[in-house]
Symmetry: C2
Subunit: 232 residues, 2 copies
Amino acid sequence: MRCIGILGGMGPAATIDFMTKLMALTPSSRDQDHLPVVLVSLPQIPDRSAAILGFGEDPLPMLEQGVKLLNRADVGLIVIPCATSHHWYQELSAISHAPIMHIANAALDRVPRTGRTLILATRGTLASGFFQRTLTDHEIDFEIPDPNSDQSAIDECIRSIKAGRYESAGRALDPVLKQAVAHGVTSVIMGCTEIPLAAAHVTTKGLTLIDCSLELARHTVDHALQRGWNRL
Amino acid sequence: MRCIGILGGMGPAATIDFMTKLMALTPSSRDQDHLPVVLVSLPQIPDRSAAILGFGEDPLPMLEQGVKLLNRADVGLIVIPCATSHHWYQELSAISHAPIMHIANAALDRVPRTGRTLILATRGTLASGFFQRTLTDHEIDFEIPDPNSDQSAIDECIRSIKAGRYESAGRALDPVLKQAVAHGVTSVIMGCTEIPLAAAHVTTKGLTLIDCSLELARHTVDHALQRGWNRL
């Protein structure tokens, strides 16, 4: 029996949200219909965004430790419900026995090919540039928040979710979304797995919100069901 | 670094509820404050209650497989957010490298020493008798539902949660609780980790509801924080 491997804890709320989505997306009427999962949740992994920006401890050794634990469990696929960690996608893939599904590729299907798309993510993810490269490779135009204004609100939104302040996270996100609508943006990639937890508390209408965590869960369930991982 | 080991998937919603409780009970303002966890979620484990009652496949081999995976991850403690599985507590403890925290012991602290206590659980758990033995050992009086009437509503409640029908689960539970109040019951041990998910949808007042999943989470967090498992 093969399991889905999840490298999580970055943060724990985003991991639980991802697992809830996995469960909800699996057609089921009893326990045995669901997909087997091994989760390694290591919240002590140093701040990914700070490290990419050059002022934090390197998270790679502990990310690798997580992948090695999943190797020992012989998982058939690894997913990481933390977008920023995908900065180390190549290094982690090199030591993983199972393929790692890339969160930016999972989100790509849902990005409209017309209109204006805004990428919301950590400063580290935006500096790493993997969302931008994925969209550019598919000739999709995008924009990113002004690092001196809107990005500070996004930072606050993400920090609030990690501290368990959901409504406050929504309040931080709302003005950015409203301004985006005013500037003609039509879709937003929530490119950090904390942001969808804030989105439930925003009031802005008129945007297609693309939830990278939901899309990762959708592709994960498809991958596992196609291979019959819930059948013994 | 030691991790909390969770043997879950029985069912997945109860496991996610348990993890949400672990997270909420951990004092934190950022990812790194949280506790490291390895979860082995194996929803394919055969129905525990049916096996205890003598008409289902033996779940022990797959429960043991889960413990062995947690052994390989070198966890410092194992918890099982499925009460019925504790029927095999001795067998699983015998092969586990880490102590297994017993869900009935975790719930015991919260059971009032006066008044009348009702145990709600699967038929398998009640046939196994570990909740009754724990209470008897501490000279606490208890009662269990009539197997020919109330227990059928409890079975329906648990089945509904496993099928994702939360309100329907609450509707099945409510008449049993109302009748318990009418008969002088003052506290209820929700001795199955699905039942607390239904309890959010009941209207009955006047009972102390003891959530075995919450109590297991509370003891788990205490155990791990005392040993500094969230400090590197």
